[in-house]
């Protein structure tokens, strides 16, 4: 394990995972907000919004994430000159967050929408019967119950997001997988230790995350 006694290598490793952590955190927020909005659109009475939501889901759910992240870099940044920061790493980070968010939002939307289907029709009828608007019915009655029904699948989506964050390495961010590649390139004799440390780090963080979501799902479940 000589590789990990070198402080420069440790730094590469830590920096790599810090990027993953930041990418996951920001994209989780982005995907959740976007996904809930999209789900709202897909069940709305306005055809244009429904169409927009459906088009979004079909587009981003069926495009490889690598292509989306490449597009964020070459399309948004290079071609359209969208500059999100003077610092190249920070710029690539935000481009990555955009790519991860728009992609993951499609999956969040569909999870929430399946949650909406678990809420009995009577809940919305009762809400409308006391005079609530569509938005009120959705935000006060339907989404809170739908969200609680899909905590576990949302957990899986966010775990996938954390691993997908490594794809941002393809546009030059030194996140964990790029860091791993760099360490392996420099330490060809230690491929297995390096690989297991990186893979193990993901497992150590993500396995408890899965259990946490499972626990939360039980705790938040709506009793009927």
């Amino acid at each position: 394990m000589d590789v990990f006694s070198d402080s420069a290598n440790i730094d590469t490793y830590v920096t790599g995972f810090l990027w993953i952590l930041k990418l996951t955190a920001a994209a989780t927020v982005g995907a959740l907000v976007l996904g809930v909005l999209l789900a709202g659109m897909r069940v709305s009475p306005i055809p244009v919004l429904r169409g927009f939501g459906t088009a979004w889901v079909n587009t981003f759910r069926n495009t490889p994430l690598t292509l989306i992240v490449f597009f964020c870099y070459f399309g948004l940044y290079s071609a359209l000159s969208l500059e999100l920061s003077d610092d190249i790493d920070t710029n690539n980070y935000w481009l990555g967050v955009i790519g991860l968010s728009v992609y993951t939002a499609a999956f969040v939307c569909e999870a929430i929408r399946s949650g909406i289907n678990t809420v009995p029709v009577g809940q919305a009828e009762a809400a409308r019967a006391i005079g609530m608007s569509f938005i009120q019915t959705l935000t006060l009655i339907i989404l809170p119950q739908a969200g609680r029904a899909v905590v576990a699948p949302l957990g899986s989506i966010f775990i996938a997001l954390a691993k997908n964050a490594t794809i941002v390495g393809t546009i030059g961010l030194m996140e964990s997988s790029s860091a791993m590649k760099e360490l392996i390139n420099a330490n060809g004799d230690a491929v297995f230790p390096i690989f297991f440390v990186f893979a193990g780090t993901f497992a150590i963080f993500l396995i408890p995350t899965g259990y946490a979501f499972g626990w939360l799902a039980n705790r938040l479940a709506v009793k009927r």
Binding site: E125, A126, R128, I130, G131, M132, L140, V222, R224
Partner: protein
Amino acid sequence: MTTSEPLIVLEGVNKYFGPLHVLQDVSLSVDRGEVVVVIGPSGSGKSTLCRAINRLEPISGGSITFDGQPLPAEGKALARLRSEVGMVFQSFNLFAHKTILQNVMLGPIKVRGEKSAAVRERAMSLLERVGIAAQAEKYPAQLSGGQQQRVAIARALAMQPKALLFDEPTSALDPEMVGEVLDVMTSLAREGMTMVVVTHEMGFARAAADRVVFMADGQLVEQAAPAEFFASPKSDRAKDFLSKILTH
């Protein structure tokens, strides 16, 4: 607007579910303070009629006016109208993720924008009235069906509605819980609440109704005061229906 004018007026109302003609030229008017009980066999269209009054079921033809105004199309005006017409469902439909008290307070606060403190006081006194005040902090799933339905009535009353619609309010209840719900409804009827009640409870119809409306096959077949209707139904359809339910 004069107060002698009927509160709810249905004129030539038609409703189709696909090829099914569930309401056929139904005309009915309900006066202020009147309690109208709608009875009839399953599939006769009585629930649809009840749900049409607050447009949970849009009609295919004819007109419905409430308090002198025709029912508005979907939108703010319809929401306002619905806030003035309370509805009690067969399956209670209490908001499952809210406590009993929150269920009752939600409408006045979110729909009417009333102050929470005043609403809480009114909600508690309504829960007191229906006998559920002690369970205010519980969730719907922790209550019996009869208790849930009484909360649903309190929730409707919290909006201080001009009329209450009951869509088979006791049909999903265990027999021993029917009485507690009917008691609340009977006391509301005595206090002069305008009510349209779709039910199979003939005892309630006799005791509390001002008028019984009999429906069959999507048509309003006959209507009369309860004593008259139960003693001497005019139509064969009603005679047949009553003979089937009253012999047991």
